[in-house]
Subunit: 361 residues, 4 copies
């Protein structure tokens, strides 16, 4: 349980960090979509390690293989299974960490829950699982792009370095022009230096990914529990290392008065209903109102650091956990496509759910 997401566009992921492969089965993808394998691969490439010296130097090709559900270049309406093989990592020796509980990792909780665990590289709890999310999310993006929906994420904070420019004044096309994925090139440079310093210290640092979604029709999201922002929140909080989610005015909005915070509704000359401000973040009563949807996702400093740390092993003995290997000092640059992927999965699912609520005319 726990590895299925979505109600209609539904993804089921599997695979361990150092197992044979990671993969996903997508159910409920509409039939007849042109399946752009190159695009899906390019999204995986945005996520993959080794993109610059501030990401982990592990080498993973992360080539996608499509196993089912696509015929003559189009989706057929049947389940689409996609696999990424894990390469030759099975040969490594992990016995020295087999019984170690690393601080702030899931080693102890998995062991306590299941009575045993795949200790190689975190097993199922590893962020390697997000390969499957990016593949499925890329497919969702393909469908959404035909519907005019555009999902963009970017790094807006690394440690204490914050991007405070309002999103409307940013040139989001610059996001992919630097290794940090921050659309402000000057700040991106500072962030890069900061992460590189952290890396040299063998330490890690947190950050924030912001997302901005345009082109959503009015009406996405369901009343009560499955509100659009509640589902976006769950999707984001399910990404490794995420500690917080806020949308629209978020926690800052808490301090506002209603008279400042309410978004006045107007009808434009072309008949479009708009709001003069957008503290609501494009969502009212859990349902999209046609304005841009925006939210922020907070990531903690990753638990893996290249320093010695105290801990215990399975028997309860005190041990020293030594940091070794190749890891990300800050996950947010590589988290950008993951945030986009999960947002795409949520939005497409609601898009499809929305097609059943009124009768055909």
């Amino acid at each position: 349980m726990g590895s299925i997401y979505g109600k209609i566009f539904q993804i089921s992921t599997f695979g361990e960090s150092h197992g044979v492969a990671v993969g996903v089965v997508v159910q409920g993808c509409p039939a007849g979509i042109s399946f752009d394998l190159e695009f899906i691969q390019s999204e995986l490439d945005r996520r993959k390690p080794g993109q610059s010296r501030i990401t982990t130097q592990r080498k993973e090709a992360d080539s996608i293989e499509v196993v089912s559900g696509v015929f003559e270049g189009k989706t057929t309406g049947t389940p689409i299974a996609m696999l990424v093989w894990n390469g030759d990592q099975r040969s490594k020796d992990y016995s020295h960490i087999a019984d170690q509980f690393r601080p702030s990792h899931a080693d102890y909780t998995y062991f306590a829950k299941y009575g045993l665990r795949d200790y190689r590289g975190g097993g199922r709890s590893s962020a390697r699982e997000t390969v499957a999310r990016v593949a499925a999310g890329a497919l969702a993006k393909l469908v959404l792009s035909q519907l005019g929906v555009k999902i963009t994420a970017y790094v807006s904070q690394v440690g204490t370095l914050k991007l405070s420019t309002p999103v409307e004044q940013l040139d989001l096309s610059l996001t992919e022009s630097n290794a940090v994925r921050c659309p402000d090139p000057v700040l991106a440079d500072q962030m890069f230096q900061y992460i590189d310093d952290i890396r040299k210290q063998g330490d890690s640092v947190g950050g924030v990914v912001s997302a901005y979604i345009t082109g959503c029709p009015v009406g996405l999201g369901e009343p009560v529990f499955d509100k659009l922002h509640a589902e976006l929140g769950k999707a984001m909080l399910s990404i490794n290392a995420v500690k917080g989610f806020e949308y629209g005015s978020g926690f800052d909005g808490v301090e506002k008065k209603g008279s400042e915070h309410n978004d006045v509704i107007v009808k434009e000359a072309d008949g479009t209903v708009r709001t003069l401000t957008n503290h609501s973040g494009g969502i009212q009563g859990g349902i999209s109102n046609g304005e841009p949807i925006y939210f922020r996702v907070g990531f903690k400093p990753v638990a893996t650091i290249m320093q010695d740390q105290d801990s215990i092993n399975e028997k309860g003995d005190k041990i020293t956990v030594s940091g070794k290997g190749r890891h990300d000092p800050c996950v947010v640059p590589r988290a950008v496509p993951i945030v986009e992927a999960m947002a795409a999965i949520v939005i497409l699912d609601f898009y499809l759910r929305n097609r059943v609520i009124q009768m055909p005319s």
Copy 2:
């Protein structure tokens, strides 16, 4: 769709603000639980309007009626339906607001989504729906109390007035001793005055509810998508007016380094595995680790204010929406039992899910 929550302890709510009744059907409640109707009613009383001059003065008795699933004082394992009748509100005249879209309410989005809407008091989008959540949550609390789990929420911020005392240093038993539900009596007084001033201005203000959960066993929560904090996040974000959720170190943790943020694991003399710090908020890899679980929920200033506001109606004409009636200037005092209820529903659901993951010995 959208009105069902939970996988095993599953609630299905129904009812409109000014309809006949609001209610809930609870499926998956274990059999044999002593059904304490008085306790459930007392939780509804904590939520109900008219508790002090800083909450809405509407009079709603909110008496619970149990329709099924309980026999001779015990749950039978079959669906438990509970109803709260809405009193005589059906007689009111709402025709003057029938075609108005109130700013930052769900009027426009519901209308656009469904093509029609129950305009009386917000219909299904009204926070009156949370009556059903509190009833179901009270039942979940009853079960959890037998399992040693204790869920407490309290107001930790109103506007810019913040409670910065760490939760371990608070006396949470004081929470219910004041109308604001803030466990710091001095700050509670200031918050009360502030809310009362806002009320006199005909305005509203936001706030934060914090939650603190103790007694959870290790192992609650599922890998990948159904992480414990992801589900708590969705549950909280689904409550009316919520704009943000963070757990453990939350957005503040973003600025930390891994070496500061990691929680060192130790084994105590009695064999209990603990962490020396708890930046993880009691959850590692999405699974409870036995430490206290804590999180914060940010509420916006409610959209209903007693001031004139510009807007449009269904036809798109410019109108003035006049604030009238009796509403809450700040929702957080009454939101405390709602946050507790949703937390209880999530925790109990994972508790039950957890019973199927290992084989019986």
Copy 3:
């Protein structure tokens, strides 16, 4: 668990035979449907006891009360809760049967499963629960009638008395003209006499309900597990006392050769694709092909008889269970609207599911 049915048009039922009420919450009903309360009541009237001397003489008004989801005569897209109150039956004394396990009832299995049970009239296991199905099914029928789908069921067997006329040669409008609900008036008379004799013996007898559905578009049903006939089968088998389900050629088809059984496909002058025969029962590969859908549902003789029977009580002592009260000697006449209701729920659910599988043009 177990009391929810459907994926999009989803019903959640509750209530015990002698509890306060039985009811249903319907989620996923499209918005804007004219809610015809009179029609729903008329379907409940077809199911209710006391219609003739061959059905139980219990008096239950079975008046429906709508609690939510309907506004100004139309469905709003939010959950529709409907209740039928159980009258004054709570005052009866059931203590003499409180610890008895009646033969071929669910008394023992419920007790063993839950550790306790509502022993009054079978509690949740009573066929009184089907009131809720008929109410929800009537709503589904209302929607389907707008889509041109017509669902008709009728009694085709009582004991050894079988209706062997092919359905195409029957005048189904005669079904409601007799108390047995058999469209062959002569056979209906014989069946009536037979059931009446069984009744006088204090015994019961089984029967078969056949269903015939026209106007379904091509394409209802999903590949693999959620085949149209698999879901119809589950829905029918979930009705109290059902022991078998077959569709199209059914068990008789087993004896056929492929060359006899295959349905030749043709295109008619008006462009309609048809099959020359319909051994497939309107379903190929689990998906409707536009031909009439037909199936048969076998009901056992009801377990309640007016004769003394050996059994045991909770303690395991041998007892004699005495038949008392007012019960149906043969359930099939009253099962006709229940079969129709469940078929309507299944068909409408697939109809709505079908709207998400292709992209909008």
Copy 4:
């Protein structure tokens, strides 16, 4: 949609007949199960083609590859993905049948539903998908065998040749001793001859698979919709070519009187509660009562025959469909392990569901 089955032990299958592979992701398998790959492979071998001259002569190795969820020989509680590669069948030329609608196949309904289809060997509608069911079912059997549950199926009818011996008088260990999988060796010989004759005629014939399950605890199955037999019925009806399902006394029970049909309950000397007869098929009120569970599954003659048949193509032109290739004249011998697999999946799912209904003592 449609390719997921189960609530807790949940399988998600994928793959087309002539695609790259068929496979399954199993969620909710308990952790710590010894994963017996050899046993799983042996179950696939029981299903695979080419076992005798009365099954299709296609050559498929059907070797299972485990991709995730197993570590050091044990299940880890995370999703278990299993694949069977389809060999070199991609090279074949199917263009001559690309636009043909074969009689009583799913060609037309898939095309109408999705607007396109994988025409190679039936694509997703092919019985090749059952490879995935057998793999998942073998895993379920492994778990159930530790719990003392034994599931056995056998061929009880081919065409008009019926096995009428009561199951208690059969030696089910003989089932696997012949190619037909009928436990009566004499009848098995006749069935073999009959199928072989049908094969020589280029025709096909239907049959019945019976199942017999022992060792189930009391209490499996849920009230109302998810009755044990309703779920078994859906699972069986979802298998390719199935037209009917009956359990216990089934359609024959329809003709009985209640006084003949009711199963008298007794308590044996050792404290076991039993019934003197078992017309109920081990299930009362949808819940297992501890007696053996038995049911019958009717399969139609397969649609593929080696004879010319009239039909139409996508354009609606009349065509002749020519039977070519290697196909099963009668599917029931190879359906035996599929019936067992689906039964195991259903039983294990209820077994796990049953662990959440009472509180721990």
